[in-house]
Point group: C2
Chain length 353, copies 2
């Protein structure tokens, strides 16, 4: 294929194709977008030429004219006071999932790191006002999340990982946290436990409340009092898990079992148990939630409710594509129920309360 020297230097534009084929740039543009007003023969010729010179539409030109950015914004939370502690939040896998969904579309992912809710709110507004992206994905939803109010009202396309507690209609993906907590608690109660600790995230987070709801429901069903004094709330760091375990176990009425919100806190709890000379599975029962499949490698392996996070990411991406194409948010909702993976006979550790 003959490539002129000049064509080598700068990337071909629509003008290049016009000169090459003899058609006007208007026709080229329409042909490439497969408009019905242009004759099939013309389209063929133009496509062929485009192929030959390796024409790729200039994103900036397109963006300016259409007002679209072909960017999907992802707000990635990073806890500021983390001090390099592991919090088990595998955003990598979420991004991977989103990216899988966006593959083949013209959309790219832009990541915006946010440090707190206010930051997230500002960022969402900037993205809308300045047109930094055509849609937004975010997580860490609060019971009353200002970002959802803002975006729902404006009609800007978005998908949230998690649900707020307001009766609003919006696209979202979530885990059935209420159910997961209920099932875990019910299981432990069936094993003879009454004093069960819940290692939970902080309250304003919507899913923290969902977990407490499920926890309480299981106790209510068993006609038992919910041990509210055994609910620990904090960041999701391993340190928090460890310190909670140490604190709770040294109280007058210690728990006989733990329910952990994620892998990092589970590791912390196991570390705390170890320090006190206690053994998970024999002295104390532990059930955890896991989304990166790591609990199988703890010593001992821990029974978990498991939901691969990448799948949620994929769904987020799919939903966002549909929303950006004008899809009805009413239909774009999915709540995943994690699967129970038994690795411990939970009833062995029961101790008299």
């Amino acid at each position: 294929m003959a490539e002129t020297e000049s064509a080598r230097r700068t990337p071909p534009t629509i003008k290049t194709l016009a000169d090459l084929t003899g058609y006007s740039i208007a026709t080229i543009s329409k042909a490439l977008r497969d408009s019905p007003v242009v004759a099939q023969a013309t389209k063929d010729a133009i496509f062929k030429a485009a192929q030959e010179v390796g024409y790729q539409a200039n994103a900036r030109g397109m963006a300016l004219r259409t007002g679209k950015t072909y960017q999907a914004a992802v707000l990635m939370p990073v806890t500021a006071v983390r001090e390099y502690e592991w919090d088990g939040v595998e955003y990598t896998q979420i991004l991977s999932g989103i990216s899988q969904a966006l593959e083949g579309s013209d959309y790219r992912i832009s990541v915006h790191v946010i440090r707190d809710t206010q930051d997230g709110c500002d960022m969402a507004r900037r993205i809308m006002d300045q047109g930094l992206a055509d849609g937004i994905i975010f997580s860490g939803i609060l019971a009353d999340d200002p970002r959802i109010d803002l975006l729902v009202e404006s009609g800007f396309p978005f998908v949230s990982l998690g649900r707020c507690r307001k009766p609003l209609t919006y696209a979202h993906v979530d885990i059935d946290n209420e159910w997961a907590a209920f099932a875990a608690t019910e299981r432990l109660i069936a094993g003879g436990h009454h004093r069960i600790a819940l290692i939970n995230p902080q309250r304003p987070l919507s899913y923290a409340m969902d977990r407490i709801d499920g926890f309480s429901r299981a106790f209510a069903q068993a006609r038992l009092q919910t041990p509210a004094d055994l609910i620990a709330e904090g960041d999701l760091s391993t340190r928090f898990g460890r310190e909670s375990a140490l604190d709770l176990l040294q109280r007058p009425e210690p728990p006989t079992a733990f329910i952990c919100i994620n892998e990092s806190t589970t590791l912390g709890v196991l570390s705390g148990l170890g320090s006190l000379g206690l053994q998970a599975g024999t002295d104390i029962d532990v059930i955890a939630y896991d989304d990166i499949n790591v609990s199988a490698y703890f010593t001992p392996p821990i029974t978990t409710f498991y939901q691969p996070i990448e799948v949620l990411g994929r769904t987020l991406g799919e939903f966002l594509l549909q929303r950006m194409a004008g899809g009805d948010p009413q239909t774009l909702k999915q709540v995943f129920r994690p699967t129970l993976i038994e690795r411990q006979p939970d009833n062995l550790g029961a101790r008299p309360a």
Copy 2:
């Protein structure tokens, strides 16, 4: 402040300011960029007006005219065959670090998920050719990495996390893997170990080779044969760590100590030890590399070489900003030496070889 109804609807452009102040758009543009050709009084008036209507330059318009995108591309590797296994690669923290460095600049981060080296190479080329970003950050450097060749040759601004083995000049940030492996090995040899296993990433990765170099240097220094049969190479998953430990320990001449490449493999090795009824720190010594500060919570806590990954991210971002501003790659190099955090008396586990 009086805002007209029409100004409320669509965001103000340079034209809005022109109408408002009576100056031409050319003058407005120059004033906002603080050009010396426009009178100070005029600048003041224009700045004031811009402030009042909350003018923000339209990124798309600027991008089209200047050819810049104000995007920093990050190539994020995701192992395709991972099957949701944890690999301990905390890209979240790298992104957080980069984002910190870019704060205050006009640059935003776009993340491109890549599945293998070929994918990464294609993506780098696309970013350059299509002008998808003004600079690139990537990691997972191979001993002979085609991306580095490509980008060095083209002069496109980039910073790599890791170094290749060719004598090229380019901006990079790295960990002193050779030294870390040497120091860990030396320490274990001093503790009486001769049969030391190295849990390592796959060979084409440059830092895998660095680690083997350091490992070998320590044996050479002690006038011992490097136990090449005890070098396990694989992905960084917890499963790989576990399976390696199980395999190595059941051989005729098993190792008496392990050096692990990162937290996920360490956890896997500990899991393997547990399955065999062995105890780290008493039966077998383990030293690990850690960048998310999680080894303190293993049972028992593991001695590590620690370097918070977020700091590397920050440096990557700073270097990229300088490169995009035309900085000399010769001066943009930094190699971090991790700090030793002792949590185990490594010589206790020594067994006769």
